[in-house]
Symmetry: C2
Subunit: 306 residues, 2 copies
C-alpha cells in the first residue's frame, strides 16, 4: 500500500489529494471502468457504448459541512445537490440516489423529516429517483452520504483531463462567500453543463467544490497543463482571496478551444442571460520552471487552511 | 412527510423500520425502478431487460459497528463485504464500489492504509472494482460508507417479497455470537446465493444482518405471510436468544417450495459440504389472530435492545 511512511504520520501532514492517491493505488479497478478515481465521477461502460454510466458518492457531515442549527431542509438539498453537481460536471444527467443517514439516537424525527423533505425537493427538481435509504446510529455528529448514478452520452462525456495548452478557461457565476448561505442553497449547474456538452463540448470540466485555488490546480494537473489567470469573478462583498479559497461555490470550471470562445460567449448570453460566464484565463504549456507560483490553497479537509 | 408527530419524538421512540418507511414515503422514485427501498438492494432496469442493475449503500461506524482498537484491515473487509452480502441476497454479482471515509484529522495514515488493504482484499476475492474514494474530515468517530453496484439476470433476481404460504424456510451456517469476531471476518455467501438462484430460484431471500428475529419478520411481512419456526442452528457456545438477536450473522435466509426441499438438501451437501444448511421452519398463511407471538426483537440501531 504505497511507500513506507512513519507510523504516526497523520492526515494533517499528508493532505487530501495525496491521501486519496495513496489509498487508491493498487486497488482493483474491475472491468468496464473507463474513468476510475480522480475525476468528478467514475465512468462505467464499454468504449463504444452509446451511453455510459456515471457513479458518484459524497457526504456532508455536521460541524464540517453544516452547523447543528442549520435548517434540515437546506441540509438535505445540499447533500443531494453536491452529488448532482458532480454528475453535471461530467456532462451527464443524474438518475438514481441512495441515501445513508447516521444520527444520534436522540435526534428528533422532525429533523429527519426536514432533511428528507429537502432531499425530495432536489430530487424532483433535477429528475432523481430516491431508491434506497439506510439509517444507522451515530455516536456523535450527523453524517449523510449520497450515492448517485447518472448517465452521459459517450460523445458528451467531459473529463478533467482533456484540457489543452491554449484553451480558454471559464467559470460560471461568481466565486467566494459561500458560507454566507450559498453553500446550503446553491443550484447545481446541470442545465448549463448539459448545454455546454451538447453545443460546445468543453475539453475539460469540473465543479468548484474546494475553491478555485485547489480545483484549478487539479484540472490543470489532470490535463498536463499550466495556466495563467487574468481575473476572477468575485461575489459582491467578498475579497479576491475568498473567491480563490472559500470553496463550496458549486460553479463550473471548464476549458474550451480559444477559437470557440467568442461564439460561446455570444450563445451563452442568449441561453443563460441571468448567469454570468467569465473568461478567467488560459491553459498553457507546462514547462518546468515556468509554472507561475501556486495561488493560495483552497479548502483541504485535513489541512484546514480556512 | 407523513403524519404529524410530536415535535420531540426521537428515533428511540420510533425504531428503525418505521423510521425508514416514514422518511421514504413520498420520495420520487424515478424511471426504471423495479424495486425501490425496502429490499436488500434497489433493482434498476426495464421489465424485459436480460440483466438488471442492483444498487446498494451501507455504512460502518466506529463505536457502533467496530471498536476503535479493531484491526483496520478487518474493518475494511467488513465494510465492503456487508454490501456484497446484500447484492448476493438478491441473487446478483457485485461490480463497482465507491468508498467514502470520514476520519478525524489526527487519524494515522497507517490506519487508513490498513483499511484500504482490507477493502482491496475483499474487492479482489469477490471481483469488485474500486472506482472512487472520497475522504472527508470527521469531527468525531470514523465513518465508512460503501456504495456498490451489482448485476443480476432477470430470471435469477430474488426479492424478499416472493415467499408463499407453505414454503420451506432455510438458513445457511449457524447464528449468534458474531461479536466474538465473526462480524469482522465473515464471508458473504455470494457463491451460495448465486448457486441457489441458478438451480433452485428461492421465492424469497435476504441476508441476516440485524438478527433472525428482526429479519425473519421483515421477509415474512414483505411476503404477506406468517411463519412457524421449529429450530434454529446455534453457534457453538451460544444460547438460542443470541441466535435470534445478536445480528451480524451475514448468513442467507430464504424460502423455497416445500416440494423442492429434499432435492435442495441433497444437492447442497454436494455443492457446499462444509457449510451447514438448516431447515428452520415454514412460511404459512397470515390469518389475523393466528400469527405466533413475535419472537424477541433483533438489533435495532435506535432501540438498542442488545
Amino acid at each position: 500500500m504505497g511507500a513506507k511512511l512513519p507510523a504516526l504520520l497523520t492526515l494533517a501532514d499528508l493532505g487530501e489529494d495525496a491521501l486519496v492517491a495513496r489509498l487508491l493505488r493498487g486497488q482493483p479497478a474491475g472491468a468496464d471502468v473507463l474513468t476510475g478515481p480522480g475525476d468528478d465521477c467514475a465512468v462505467i461502460g464499454r468504449p463504444r457504448d452509446r451511453r455510459w454510466q456515471l457513479l458518484k458518492t459524497d457526504c456532508v457531515i455536521e460541524h464540517v459541512h453544516f452547523a447543528p442549527d442549520a435548517d434540515p431542509r437546506r441540509v438535505g438539498w445540499k447533500a443531494l445537490c453536491r452529488a448532482i453537481s458532480d454528475i453535471a460536471a461530467m456532462g451527464g444527467e443524474p438518475r438514481h440516489a441512495l441515501i445513508t443517514v447516521a444520527v444520534p439516537r436522540t435526534q428528533p424525527v422532525a429533523w429527519l423529516d426536514g432533511l428528507y423533505a429537502g432531499i425530495a425537493k432536489a430530487a424532483r427538481k433535477f429528475g432523481v429517483g430516491i431508491v434506497g435509504g439506510e439509517t444507522a446510529r451515530s455516536p456523535g455528529a450527523v453524517f449523510i452520504n449520497v450515492a448517485l448514478t447518472g448517465e452521459v452520452e459517450r460523445t458528451r462525456c467531459v473529463r478533467r483531463s482533456g484540457g489543452r495548452a491554449g484553451d480558454a478557461l471559464y467559470v460560471t457565476g461568481r466565486l467566494g462567500g459561500s458560507l454566507a448561505g450559498k453553500h446550503l442553497d446553491f443550484t447545481p449547474r446541470l442545465a448549463e453543463a448539459r448545454w455546454l456538452a451538447a453545443h460546445f463540448l468543453p475539453h475539460a470540466m469540473m465543479d468548484l467544490s474546494d475553491g478555485l485555488a485547489a480545483d484549478l490546480q487539479r484540472l490543470a494537473c489532470a490535463s498536463g497543463c499550466g495556466y495563467s489567470i487574468k481575473s476572477v469573478p468575485v461575489t459582491r462583498g467578498c475579497k479576491s482571496a475568498q473567491a480563490w479559497n472559500d470553496g463550496e461555490d458549486y460553479e463550473l470550471l471548464f476549458s474550451i478551444a480559444e477559437r470557440a470562445s467568442l461564439l460561446l460567449e455570444r450563445e451563452w448570453q442568449k441561453a443563460f442571460p441571468r448567469l454570468r460566464l467569465s473568461r478567467i484565463g488560459t491553459l498553457n504549456q507546462l514547462t518546468f520552471g515556468t509554472q507561475p507560483a501556486c495561488p493560495p490553497r483552497g479548502y483541504d479537509h485535513f489541512r484546514q487552511t480556512l
